[in-house]
C-alpha cells in the first residue's frame, strides 16, 4: 500500500470488515424503515419547529418589538445564537479540510456527518441576522446589486457586510465540498436500489461511474477545496469577531478577538460533533467506523481549544487591567462581578474547567463522560457569546440608561426554532445519505483498518497468521462502557 502502516496506532475501522461489508453497514440506514427512536426524535424536532414557528411568525408579523431588545441592549439572544451556530459550523470544515491537509485518517469516519452539521448550523445561524434586520423580506438589500436608488451601493468597509460575504461564501463552499464527496456514495446506493429509489439516487449521483480519471479529478478537487477552505474557515470566524472587535464598545474592542473566536468556534464545533456522533454511532450501529479512537482524537482537540479559550479569557482580564483605561476595566469588572455574574461563571466553569477532565486518557475514552461534557461545553460556549454581547452593552457610557436584559418568550422561541430546524434536517440526512463517507472509508481500510495487509503485516504472517491481531488489540471494542 502507498500509505505508511503503523503498528503503534490502533485501527480506525474495527470488526475485520470487507469492502462489501462496509457498503452494507453504512447503506443500511438509508435502506430500511426508520425505527421508533428516530420517529420519536423527529417528533421532538418537529415539535420544536412548530413552537419556534409560532414565535417566528410573531417576530416577522409584529416585528422585533416582540423581543426585549432596547436602546441600550441592541444585540441580545439573536446575535448570541447567530455566533453560537456559526461557531458550531466550524468543526465540519476543520475536520474535512484541515485534517485532510494534515493527512489525518481518522477524519474519514466523521467528516460526512460533521460537514452536514456545518451546513445545517450555518443555515440556522443565517436566520438570526435575517430576522434581526426587522424586515426580512428586504434582506436582499445587503447584496451589491444595481438598484434604482442611485445605484446606492452597500458599505464595503463595514464588518457587517464582510460577514454577509463570509457566511454566504462559507455556506456555498461547504455545500459544494460536501456534495462532491457525496456523489460517489450516492452512486453506491443507486446501484443497490430498485424502482423509484433508484431514480432518485440516480439523479443525486449525477451519473457517477467510478472511472479512474474521474477519481483522479475528484481527489484533486477535494484537495484544492480543502486547501482553500482552510483559510476560509479561519477567516469566517475572524470576520464574525470583527463585528465586535472593530467597534468602540469596551469589552468588544480587543485585538485578541479573532484567534480567540476561532479557537472557541472549533471548540464548540467539536463538542457538537461529539454529541451527534455518540448518538449516531449507537443508533445506526456504526461503532466499527466511529470508534473510541475517533472520540479520543476529538477530545484532544477539545481540550486544546478549550485551553486556548481559557488563556484568552485570562488575557482579556489582564489586558483590561493593564490598559489603565477605566471603561475597559469596568467592562470586565462588570462581566465577572456585575448583575450577569452567573453567566460569566457558567462560561468559565463550562469552557475552561470542564474540558480539563480530558487530560486524562480514561476520561477521553469514556463515552458517557464525553457525551455529558460535549453538552456542557456547548452550553458554556453559548454563555460566552451571551457574556461578550450582553454584559458589554447593558451598562453603557450613560448610567441613566443602564438596564437588565432578559429575553421574551418570542426570543426563546426563535432559538427553539433553530433547534427544531437543525434536528429535522439532521434526522432526514441520516436516513437519505450515507452518514460515513463510504468511498473514503474504503480507501483507508488497508492502512487504517484492522485487516492490516500492509508491509508490517506480512512480516508478522511469517511468524503466525494471527500475530497481527495480538499486536493490534481491538481497543474500540474493549473500551465500550
Amino acid at each position: 500500500m502507498s500509505g505508511v502502516v503503523s503498528r503503534v496506532r490502533p485501527p480506525l475501522i474495527t470488526g475485520n470488515k470487507t469492502y462489501h461489508q462496509i457498503t452494507e453497514d453504512i447503506c443500511a440506514s438509508t435502506e430500511k424503515l426508520p425505527g421508533g427512536g428516530w420517529v420519536m426524535l423527529l417528533m421532538m424536532a418537529l415539535g420544536l419547529l412548530t413552537f419556534g414557528g409560532v414565535s417566528m411568525f410573531f417576530t416577522i408579523w409584529y416585528g422585533i418589538g416582540t423581543w426585549h431588545l432596547n436602546r441600550t441592549v441592541g444585540w441580545g439572544w439573536d446575535i448570541t445564537n447567530f455566533v453560537w451556530w456559526v461557531g458550531i459550523g466550524h468543526a465540519g470544515t476543520l475536520i474535512s479540510a484541515i485534517l485532510l491537509l494534515f493527512r489525518q485518517k481518522w477524519r474519514t469516519g466523521v467528516n460526512r456527518a460533521a460537514e452536514a452539521m456545518t451546513i445545517f448550523a450555518v443555515m440556522c445561524a443565517a436566520i438570526f441576522p435575517g430576522i434581526h434586520m426587522g424586515r426580512i423580506w428586504v434582506s436582499f438589500f445587503v447584496l451589491p446589486y444595481p438598484n434604482t436608488r442611485g445605484p446606492l451601493w452597500v458599505n464595503f468597509n463595514s464588518p457587517l457586510l464582510w460577514d454577509v460575504f463570509a457566511i454566504s461564501t462559507y455556506f456555498t463552499v461547504s455545500l459544494l465540498f460536501w456534495y462532491t464527496g457525496l456523489v460517489p456514495d450516492f452512486a453506491t446506493i443507486r446501484d443497490r436500489a430498485k424502482g423509484f429509489r433508484k431514480k432518485v439516487y440516480n439523479f443525486l449521483s449525477f451519473g457517477w461511474t467510478g472511472s479512474a480519471k474521474h477519481w483522479q479529478r475528484w481527489e484533486s478537487l477535494s484537495l484544492i477545496l480543502a486547501g482553500i477552505s482552510t483559510p476560509l474557515v479561519l477567516s469566517v470566524h475572524t470576520i464574525v469577531s470583527f463585528d465586535f472587535a472593530t467597534s468602540v464598545i469596551p469589552g468588544w474592542h480587543t485585538t485578541i478577538m479573532p484567534p480567540y473566536f476561532v479557537a472557541g468556534a472549533i471548540f464548540s464545533g467539536f463538542a457538537m460533533v461529539q454529541t451527534l456522533m455518540i448518538i449516531t454511532r449507537k443508533a445506526l450501529k456504526l461503532e466499527d467506523y466511529i470508534t473510541i479512537e475517533h472520540i479520543e482524537s476529538m477530545n484532544k482537540v477539545i481540550v486544546l481549544t478549550g485551553s486556548i479559550v481559557g488563556v484568552a479569557y485570562l488575557t482579556e482580564l489582564f489586558v483590561a487591567w493593564y490598559s489603565g483605561y477605566v471603561y475597559e476595566q469596568f467592562a470586565f469588572y462588570n462581566r465577572a462581578l456585575g448583575p450577569y455574574w452567573w453567566s460569566y461563571f457558567a462560561m468559565m466553569s463550562c469552557n475552561v474547567i470542564s474540558p480539563q477532565f480530558f487530560w486524562s486518557r480514561t476520561m477521553r475514552r469514556n463515552i458517557a463522560v464525553t457525551f455529558a461534557l460535549s453538552i456542557v461545553v456547548n452550553i458554556g460556549m453559548w454563555f460566552e457569546r451571551f457574556v461578550i454581547i450582553v454584559t458589554s452593552l447593558h451598562r453603557d457610557f450613560l448610567p441613566s440608561s443602564w438596564v437588565y436584559y432578559s429575553p421574551s418568550w418570542v426570543e426563546v422561541g426563535d432559538y427553539m426554532f433553530t433547534f427544531g430546524l437543525f434536528g429535522t434536517l439532521y434526522l432526514i440526512f441520516v436516513r437519505v445519505a450515507p452518514v460515513v463517507a463510504i468511498a473514503e472509508i474504503k480507501s483507508i481500510l488497508k492502512t487504517g483498518g484492522n485487516q492490516y495487509t500492509g508491509e508490517n503485516a506480512e512480516k508478522h504472517h511469517a511468524h503466525s497468521s494471527h500475530a497481527h491481531v495480538a499486536h493490534r488489540p481491538n481497543l474500540g471494542e474493549a473500551d465500550k462502557p
Binding site: 462489501h20 445605484p151 458599505n155 463595514s158 454566504s168 479512474a212 477519481w215 478537487l221 482553500i228 480507501s443
Partner: protein
C-alpha cells in the same frame, strides 16, 4: 441515458492490489485499457494507467484570480468613481478594508468555478445517466474494461484469456 456505442470486455477483480498488477500485466502485453472503474480512489493507479495529472488546480487558480480582480476592482470603482462616500474619515480608496471581501470572493469564485469545471469535464451533473458495466463496481469490485468494438472473435478470446490470467474473478462483455 448516454450511449458510447462500444462493446466492452471487462474483468472484475476483488482487490485493488490484484487490479494494479493486472493493469501492469495488460499494459505489458501492449493492450490498450479503455477505462478502469473502482469503488474508491486507488492510489498509485494513475501512473500505471499513464494518466496525466489533473489540470483542475490550474483552472482553480485562474478562477480565483478572476474573483480577486472582480471584487477588488468593483469596490474600488464604487468608492472612487461611481459613488464616493466618506466613511469614518477614511480615504475613498481604503484598500485594507477591501481585503476581507476580496478574499472571500476569491475563494468563492475558485470553489464554484472548479466544481462546475469538474462536473463538466467528467460529463457528470444532475439528471445525467451514464452507462455502467456492473452494479458492484461502486461496492467492492474493481473493473478493467477493454474496448473490443471492432475485434474479431479470435482476438476477443485472446483478450479474455489475458484477463483470466491476471486473476480476474469474472469476465463479461457488454455493449454500452
Amino acid at each position: 441515458m448516454r450511449k458510447y456505442n462500444k462493446t466492452v470486455l471487462y474483468g472484475l477483480y476483488n482487490d485493488e492490489e490484484i487490479l494494479k498488477s493486472a493493469v501492469v500485466a495488460i499494459k505489458g502485453k501492449q493492450v490498450d485499457i479503455w477505462d478502469v472503474f473502482t469503488p474508491f480512489p486507488v492510489h498509485g493507479l494513475d501512473p500505471l494507467l499513464g494518466l496525466k495529472e489533473s489540470r483542475l488546480h490550474i483552472a482553480g487558480f485562474f478562477y480565483g484570480l478572476m474573483g480577486t480582480s472582480i471584487a477588488f476592482g468593483f469596490m474600488t470603482w464604487v468608492f472612487t468613481r461611481d459613488w464616493p462616500i466618506i466613511f469614518g474619515g477614511k480615504p475613498y480608496f481604503s484598500a485594507p478594508s477591501f481585503i476581507p471581501i476580496t478574499f472571500e470572493f476569491t475563494v468563492l469564485m475558485a470553489a464554484v468555478g472548479m466544481v462546475i469545471t469538474f462536473y463538466l469535464v467528467c460529463g457528470l451533473g444532475p439528471g445525467v445517466t451514464n452507462p455502467y458495466l456492473d452494479n458492484r463496481i461502486t461496492d467492492d469490485k474493481f473493473c478493467i474494461a477493454l474496448d473490443i468494438t471492432n475485434y474479431s472473435a479470435e482476438e476477443i478470446e485472446q483478450l479474455s484469456s489475458l484477463l483470466k490470467n491476471t486473476d480476474a474473478e469474472e469476465i463479461h462483455t457488454k455493449t454500452i
